[in-house]
Symmetry: C2
Subunit: 408 residues, 2 copies
């Protein structure tokens, strides 16, 4: 079967008009000869509204019950979308995550997909029906409803595409693909035709906000090619593929920024074993994600320790660090939330020395001071002043000629 998996986010199905537009798009794919499986998120603000209802009752509701509650959001979407497609005269059926065979572990609110049992979906496709599956949700071995956490619908789509051996997995967003930089910032930013899973992963983690990192990870693991495209046009978007599929590679594929960053600087931390572990395990226990970590060697028995966190975690981090400060004998703590992270990503970086240096040089030429540097095999990130981030992105985009097409 020539199966096409499509995923539509919450804003694509926010109201009756948009649902009807999505229905037309799905019908068009069906009429083009595909067997279509559409994965749908909850409408617009539904999830927030449901969370509001829960908050009224309890500040820390049982997570199983939270999943029971939140999963209704997608169930409403799939029913309404199936109605819109039926109204267009096509055979259609909606399936909850459980009915769609999305089997997960029991980590409520952030469950992982263990396996997909596609029997029901296949049967319905075989019966010539369009199948609408609720994203973001699954069922555990107890028969209880779970949710997959942030970006769960992308993950559902990728998992179904893998299980069904789909011809393609299209993820519809409100942008028409992955760009070399934010087009609102850089006029010459160019849409990429292709990008590797690894590069997309770095871009996603770095705040490009198009695909959820977990979905990209799974796509890489299961060899699923994702087509990121706009729900507002029919033009081609960007293919997110396995590295081996890439015919030619740029050294740098894109440049990105992340404004959601706070620098924490612990001054004169006692330089003895176990101190760093104590600090970072305390933060991790409260779910705080620490990003760049830099330790500076000093003269004597102390070091400076620097790391970055999200702005959402700022208040909680401050509280935790203050508690640790006396216990560990840290001299001083400095915070800076007027910073931003600018990064370049590219699978070709590994084999091209000098890329990082070129980035640092470009920043220096533009008089932009670098606070912290961190690198991975396919990424270089620099923490700079938030007020300089736009000119930094533009300068780097120009430096690596990202606005130009590659010669064929």
């Amino acid at each position: 079967m020539n199966i096409l998996v499509q995923k539509y986010g919450g804003s694509s199905v926010a109201d009756g008009q948009r649902l009807k537009a999505v229905a037309r798009r799905i019908i068009r794919a069906k009429e083009a000869g595909y067997r279509v499986v559409a994965v749908v998120s909850a409408q617009g603000d539904t999830t927030d509204e449901l969370l509001g209802k829960a908050k009224e009752i309890s500040q820390s509701p049982p997570k199983r019950e939270l999943d029971m509650l939140l999963s209704t959001g997608e169930q409403i979407s799939i029913a309404l979308l199936a109605m819109a497609i039926a109204e267009g005269g096509h055979g259609v059926i909606s399936l909850t995550g459980a009915q769609g065979g999305i089997c997960t572990d029991s980590l409520y609110t952030r469950a992982k997909i263990l396996r997909v049992d596609p029997a029901r979906v296949k049967k319905e496709l075989y019966d010539e029906r369009i199948v609408i599956v609720a994203g973001f949700q699954g069922i555990n071995d107890l028969g209880d409803i779970t949710t997959l956490g942030r970006g769960g619908s992308d993950t559902t789509a990728v998992a179904l595409a893998a299980a069904l051996d789909a011809a393609a997995c299209e993820i519809y967003t409100d942008v028409d693909g992955v760009y070399t930089a934010d087009p609102r910032l850089v006029q010459t930013a160019r849409k990429l035709d292709e990008i590797s899973h690894g590069e997309m992963l770095e871009l996603a983690s770095l705040g490009a906000g198009i695909l959820q990192p977990r979905a990209v990870e799974l796509a890489a693991a299961w060899g699923v090619t994702i087509h990121v495209r706009s729900s507002f046009s029919y033009s081609l978007g960007t293919l997110v593929k396995g590295d081996d599929l890439m015919e030619k590679q740029r050294v740098v594929s894109g440049v990105t920024r992340d404004m959601n960053v706070v620098k924490v600087m612990l001054v004169d931390v006692p330089d003895r074993p176990g101190v760093a572990h104590k600090i970072f395990s305390t933060l991790a226990a409260d779910g705080i994600n620490v990003d760049m970590i830099v330790q500076t060697t000093k003269q004597g028995p102390v070091t400076d320790l620097l790391f970055t966190i999200c702005q959402d975690d700022y208040a909680l981090t401050r509280r935790l660090i203050e508690q640790l400060r006396d216990e560990l004998g840290i001299a001083d703590v400095l915070y800076n939330d007027r910073l931003a992270k600018v990064s370049i990503v590219g699978a070709g970086m590994m084999s091209n020395p000098g890329v990082a240096a070129a980035m640092f040089g470009t920043l220096a030429e533009n008089g932009i001071n670098i606070e912290v540097i961190s690198t991975s095999e396919i990424k270089v990130s620099c923490l700079i002043g938030a007020d300089r981030v736009e000119s930094a992105v533009k300068a780097i985009h120009d430096r690596f000629r990202l606005g130009e097409e590659l010669p064929v």
Copy 2:
């Protein structure tokens, strides 16, 4: 196990405050030593809001998808109620109709319960958890969600009480029991301590609006005693029991009225076989419930045929009858929607001749003209002018001394 099944309607769980009050009531029953199963409806106007969303998409959505949509209403309620109980420090779990083992046929939007598989509910009760089950919904043999139609939550509660062999089945409403007449109308109306299933069924069908007829039918079939009581007080309500449990019986248990009635009079209907069948099967095919039917014999080859319908079905009935009129050669059709039905109900009527006569006499003494009469074994109904219904109810209530306690 000493199991108590409680059912709370949509108005009892309409908002956070009410949900918390229901949680306290459930916890109180648990602390009194019961294993509690609470069946809950959708919050307040949720079902209407969901229907509104569907209407925006389609005027006649597939019923399976309507059930997929509507069942989210109860799912939201059970999750929130479980959160409220957990907040009170008690072990609790919410179960959808499917998880609660409510197995139905596949008549979407009006499914019938085929059987209850109480294994999961029993396991959770055994583990000392309070169990919250979504009313109104079940699962069919395909694994698809069904809804039970109007009054479905009452039916869920009765079915669970039967399957669990519960000590009691409490149905909470906004009134504190079943009265001999509408207390807003008759000051001397008295709350009944007990009433038989059969009497309750007649009262329910006649518009007393406290318990749904289907739930009472099932309670009668499965021998479940229902305790109808108020969610706003802790006083005892009315027990709806099997006839054999009744120690003593009144001849008449209550008097009720129904304003939702339209009289249709077909004048000079050809008196030949199959005509009545044609008329009533046409109405039935469109789901129109016909109540009182009276055929008057005339001189010659014609008869007059009279019946009553609900006001909701008035427009549709008119349209259908107009279509039949020429086909069948009916001379004239008269409609009257300024009528009301007043009825007396009592299991003791069967063995007490003269009850109907006493009712007719009371109406006559008060100058109230009777348009149509219909009777069953435990009920007598008279169609009268809508403007006279209040005085009719009061006079009948006095005549049968319904305001007085029975001598012990």
